[in-house]
Amino acid sequence: MSAPSTYALIQYAQRRHLAFTETVDGLDEGRFHFSAKDNLCALGFQARAGSAVLEGYRPPFDATPIHRLKAAGGQLVGKTTMDEFGFGSFSTNSAHGVPLNPFDPDRSCGGSSGGAGAAACLIPGHIALGVSTGGSISGPASFCGVVGLTPTYGRVSRYGLIDYGNSLDKVGLLSRSAASIAQHFGTIAGPDPKDPTSCAQPPLAGKGRMPSSLALPREAMENLDPAVRKAFQGALPVLRGMGVAVEEVSMPSLRFALPAYYVLATSEASTNLARYCGMRFGRREEELNQHFNDFFTGVRSEGFGDEAKRRILLGTFCRMVGFRSRYYLKSLAVRQMLIGEYRRVFQEHDAVLTPTMPFLPPRFEDIRRMTPLEMYLADFLTIPPNLVGMPHVSVPCGYVDGLPVGMQVVADHWKEMDLLELAKGWEGAFLYTFPEVRP
């Protein structure tokens, strides 16, 4: 029996696993194909960022990363499902369908780029554009058993990305193999005058240098599910076999990372989301015959989901007079301190190694029982590199009861190509398995 067409696989991923919010009607099987998380603007598609407030919004332009992939001959085949505005770690806060894990449809794909993770897993050769703020590329990569690259903050233009946190968002790639990612990463990287934060980067290295010494912070090994601990520790000898040394270190400042991240992310997000008020694009309330405060309040209260409201409230609070110094300004200082902590480690080692997520892909019924705080704490391993804006890659490093476990490697700013060298070497030494797909 011949391999299923890409088109058939896309349909399968959509029907069975809700990976996409919208797909194309057909494609050229000969050219490379990519998808975009639904918070990336693209001509010919809606961009709803997992939210009801953006229902019907059709952007009049392509986000720069999409524009560049198209210019390189790629076909945009669909928009992938996500948590509303990126708020979540399981893609359950989606107004347009919750994606189901390719390894077990009763379990989460992770979030917020859950649909991207599913698409990358189910469709060989597919490149999924994802976006990470606190770990939304690594998490889905880990839970869906694929490779996920989160570049340095400012390496890839964010023009056309519907904002969550402007000092934290990064556009990155998920795919079955690091080789695919390496092939296309140079296309989306590079300065874009429409996004000034992308204009501070040094040129992308032509070829990376394989990291030979990894630091493993002991703080990362606490609070892990035994299954994850076992799979991760099973990966260490394989690394050593590749000539990569792993040494335990201590990074005590890591304990400040999670609160500082949530303060900055929600502070920025609460201002980014102020524009959704029914005035123009997206959800347009026809009841304009009200005082503007009532009109705005009505549209926002009806349109935003539960997690979005919670983060808006939290972020608004952290910026308010009387609290701003203690939370917002303090968190800015903490970020700089953590950058210093990583730099200290990088004096002795090439990269930092940890598991990606502290547990296996959770069941939806277990997620429903989690408190908001518990969900935030689940990101404690992906948040630190995201807060400091350093590039990181998540690769599958083991399977437990048929479910994938990921490990994450963090390098210093701008060293994506070194990470890709390691990831390419890794997939030579460790065989990935993917669920059998019969569309």
Binding site: F61, P196, R300, M320
Partner: protein
Amino acid sequence: MDRETIAKVAKVARLALTDEEMERYAQDLDAILNSFAVLDEAPASDTYALNPVPVVDVLREDEPAQEIDPQLLRGQMGTYEDYVRGPRLS
């Protein structure tokens, strides 16, 4: 995080909350902010940076240009005699 504070925050953010929601969000934020208390142990700083990597002196030359046809944008917004209709002011 008392009821009065949550009500004020919601008003600033233009969110109308039911009594149940006020109660629930107040509890959520309370738990979350308590876990953030560890921030008080971190040292403060006089200077700070807005971005994790330095972004300095990125400027655009003063040349007018419009990539997208404004007529397309007007059409998208729904205008009346070229103005965008908004809500009431009083």
